[in-house]
Amino acid sequence: MTANPITASRRHYEDLVLGEVIDLGQTLVTRNIIIGFAQEFDPLPFHLDETAAKASLLGGLASSGWQTAALTLRLLGDSFLTRIASMGGLGFSDLKWKKPVMVGDTISGTATLSALRRSRHHPERGIVTIDLDIRNQRGEPVMTMRLANLVELRDPGLPLEAAQ
């Protein structure tokens, strides 16, 4: 297999460090961002209309939980996934929406590399587990989840144990 020219200069599986913490930076959740996402993916009154939102359980215009996840993914992409030899996500688990993200909130957070293992069937692939902790501007947790992402090995010939 020839080396991938797109990812050749990026960090590979062997370069990732267990316990490494990545600062995700921050993003402002505006009215336009909330309504734009809701119109396409989650057209519920409390994501679309300020008056209806005030009367709802959430008490005001709030971001779709899926949008909070998508904005988090963007932060993770900019700070980590586009800088490593990522091969895409395998999925996620334990996604918890802990508190609504309201219009005008700024969300930020960290990604912690909580596990690193080799793929059993594909020697050229490693799997990194990423724990995400997302908070609002008051430091209150709004979302947590655990992602599994595939990463290229620079040296697929490495024995399974040696690359750990």
């Binding site: 993916f41 900019d78 586009t82 999925g91 688990s93 996604l95 918890k96």
Partner: protein, 186 residues
């Protein structure tokens, strides 16, 4: 579904419909939320193990969510058409697991289904029940695209607070007794 908690039938399969993914929308979602090269650049994507452009898993999932929201609305309309009052669904507390099984490529058509696999009354929010939902997405070749296990809320139709709770609430409305009960609860 927008049904009362009591009316939700375990393992009843709901067809949420299909979505045709175009290259343009895959790239648009990727640029906004998941700008990895195999989601935004068809040329560069050829070097990836996918061998070409693929949709972000989060895009496929977001479209699936839209189909579920539309199905809830349709079920509500169906019940209104029968002269019944539809139930109320609440916000989701989270997703237990989401497994991306096969990539979605431009031109693929993805079909979504929903099934409630278990339900129980909420211990923390009186009057509401928890639903354990499974959503599955398959492509036009019948391959599983993703499998998701999500949690949702649905309102109970016949909820009546327990007698003990109603009695305490009534007693706390008597000023002197209310103070006494509040201090006794400290």
């Amino acid at each position: 579904m927008t049904r009362w908690f009591e009316d939700i039938v375990i393992d009843e399969l709901f067809d949420l419909g299909s979505h045709h993914f175009t290259e343009d929308e895959i790239i648009r979602f990727g640029r906004l939320y998941d700008p990895q090269y195999f989601h935004i650049d068809p040329e560069a994507a050829r070097h990836s193990h996918f061998g070409g452009l693929v949709a972000s898993g989060w895009h496929t999932v977001s479209i699936g969510h839209r189909h579920m929201v539309d199905a809830l609305d349709a079920e509500g309309e169906r019940l209104r058409g029968l002269g019944e009052e539809p139930g109320v669904s609440g916000p989701s507390p989270g997703v237990n697991r989401m497994d991306f099984k096969a990539p979605v490529r431009p031109g693929d058509t993805v079909h979504y289904t929903l099934k409630v696999t278990a339900k129980r009354q909420s211990a923390s929010i009186p009057g509401w029940g928890l639903l354990f939902n499974t959503i599955e997405a398959t492509n036009q070749h019948g391959e599983l695209v993703y499998h998701a296990e999500l949690v949702g809320f649905s309102k109970l139709r016949d909820y009546r607070m327990p007698l003990r709770v109603r009695l305490v609430m009534a007693l706390t409305r008597i000023p002197v007794l209310g103070k006494l009960l509040a201090s006794a609860n400290r």
